[in-house]
């Protein structure tokens, strides 16, 4: 594998292999502590994302490697008007692998076309965020023990939520996956995702705007934040941001082994009283993110 731009760049076997390595890292961290010595990971964050950047940096440091980079465009040559293509050509000289986040959709693909070192897309606007999806898959595998035969509730912003679109794409390759799509009418899953992924793969799905309607059927409840930066109109954001608030009361009817996930950061959509519930997996999910990124860095640098 040369670059990871879209979750579809990985086939099921490659994802299985990454999950296997990540689980081995969890069990034997010392074995991997020096695997990337003398290697450099560059984190090019053209828009701020502390969480994803720190997760990648932590992953590389725990593999014994080094990191360099910038965390916002204003502190890079982009502020002087440099193109993505030029930035990548230069940074490729200073690093062995590049992680990139950019507000413009498709920017990592442009970078991959010009780069001699592997590029990992760490989020491009509302488009792709494949390592979040890998994180989600590792979380599901570790918490539920399987990636098939699951009923998954996706709740919140299903229109602009790229994590949701990528997760649906990734899960479409596993057997007997059912989705419950929970969103306000304005933030419903786009038609093209329904047609080109769900219906094309003959996957069962139900749409509702009531978070409680199918709560008792869910194996996984994936909450998402309504993201301010995806709206052109602030009034729409204000009206929709607190549409769903998951709390202890609402979880009373849920299965005992429900797995509650969230890509984080959360705002109000999961109330703090849920944090103590053993079904809350979102902080564990962030930790799984580091492990799957370690596995991915190893794979892309071809370190065994």
């Amino acid at each position: 594998m040369k670059h990871l731009i879209d979750i579809k760049d990985l086939d099921v076997e490659e994802i299985d292999e990454l999950i296997k390595v990540a689980k081995d890292i969890i069990g034997n961290p010392k074995k991997y502590a020096h695997k990337c010595e003398a290697k450099i990971l560059a984190t090019l964050f053209f828009e701020p994302s502390t969480r994803t950047r720190l997760s990648f940096e932590s992953a590389m440091l725990r593999l014994g490697g080094n990191v360099l980079g910038f965390s916002e465009a204003s502190s890079s040559s982009v502020a002087k008007g440099e193109s993505v293509a030029d930035t990548i050509r230069v940074v490729g000289n200073y690093s062995d692998i590049i992680v990139m986040r950019h507000p413009k959709e498709g920017a990592p693909l442009v970078a991959s076309e010009k780069s001699d070192v592997p590029i990992i897309n760490a989020g491009d606007g509302g488009h792709n965020h494949p390592t979040q999806t890998l994180t989600d898959l590792l979380t599901i595998k570790c918490e539920k023990g399987r990636l098939d035969n699951l009923t998954i509730g996706l709740c919140g912003d299903l229109k602009f939520g790229r994590t949701v679109h990528s997760l649906i794409t990734a899960m479409s390759r596993y057997k007997n996956i059912k989705f419950v799509l929970i969103s306000p009418p304005e933030l419903k899953l786009p038609e093209y995702v329904k047609k080109e992924i769900l219906e094309k793969n003959k996957m069962e799905y139900i749409e509702t705007d009531d978070i409680l309607e199918y709560m008792d059927k869910l194996d996984i409840l994936y909450m998402t934040r309504v993201q301010k930066e995806r709206f052109f109109n602030e009034a729409d954001y204000v009206r929709l941001k607190d549409y769903y608030i998951l709390n202890k009361e609402k979880l009373k009817v849920a299965k005992k082994d429900l797995c509650i996930m969230h890509p984080l950061p959360r705002v109000n959509e999961i109330s703090a009283d849920v944090d103590q519930d053993e079904r809350a997996c979102y902080f564990k999910q962030a930790n799984y993110g580091k492990y799957i990124r370690m596995a991915l860095i190893l794979k892309m640098l071809e370190e065994k």
Partner: protein, 139 residues
């Protein structure tokens, strides 16, 4: 209505109504010095109504562009007053610098010297998506 037949050239037939002007613009037919006839709302047994373009010269036609605008057209090649070939076109898998991505969040809106590339993602409904942001050209 009579329009002269052509001696050597093309008859682009079975264009969907309204597509003739798009073809005229995109294939730069306005720059030709030969006769070009645009017929809209012509009667058709198969389509009820159709557009037709006649070009009175055997010029180089960008078939990919033409198939992108309307994949169902027929091109009749005329030589010495006779139709010597009827061509059906296949939808191009990829079109380059024919249309511009309308997604303001797409990298193509700011990156210098980047081609505007669209890929055919659904043959049945003729959907093209931007190679970079995957926005549909129709949206």
């Amino acid at each position: 209505m009579n329009i002269d037949s052509i001696k050597n050239g093309y008859v682009i037939d079975h264009l969907k109504v309204g597509k003739a002007m798009e073809v005229y613009e995109l294939l730069n037919l306005k720059n030709l010095e030969c006769q070009v006839a645009i017929i809209t709302n012509a009667k058709s047994n198969k389509m009820k109504k159709k557009d037709i373009i006649k070009i009175d010269k055997l010029i180089d036609i960008d078939l990919a562009k033409l198939a992108f605008i309307d994949p169902d057209v027929t091109i009749n090649i005329v030589k010495n007053d006779k139709i010597i070939e009827k061509k059906k076109l296949a939808q191009p898998e990829k079109i380059v610098n024919v249309a511009k991505c309308k997604n303001p969040r797409c990298i193509t809106s700011i990156e210098r010297d980047l081609d505007q590339i669209f890929l055919l993602t659904n043959k049945e409904n003729n959907t093209y998506r931007c190679k970079y942001c995957e926005a549909s050209l129709k949206d």
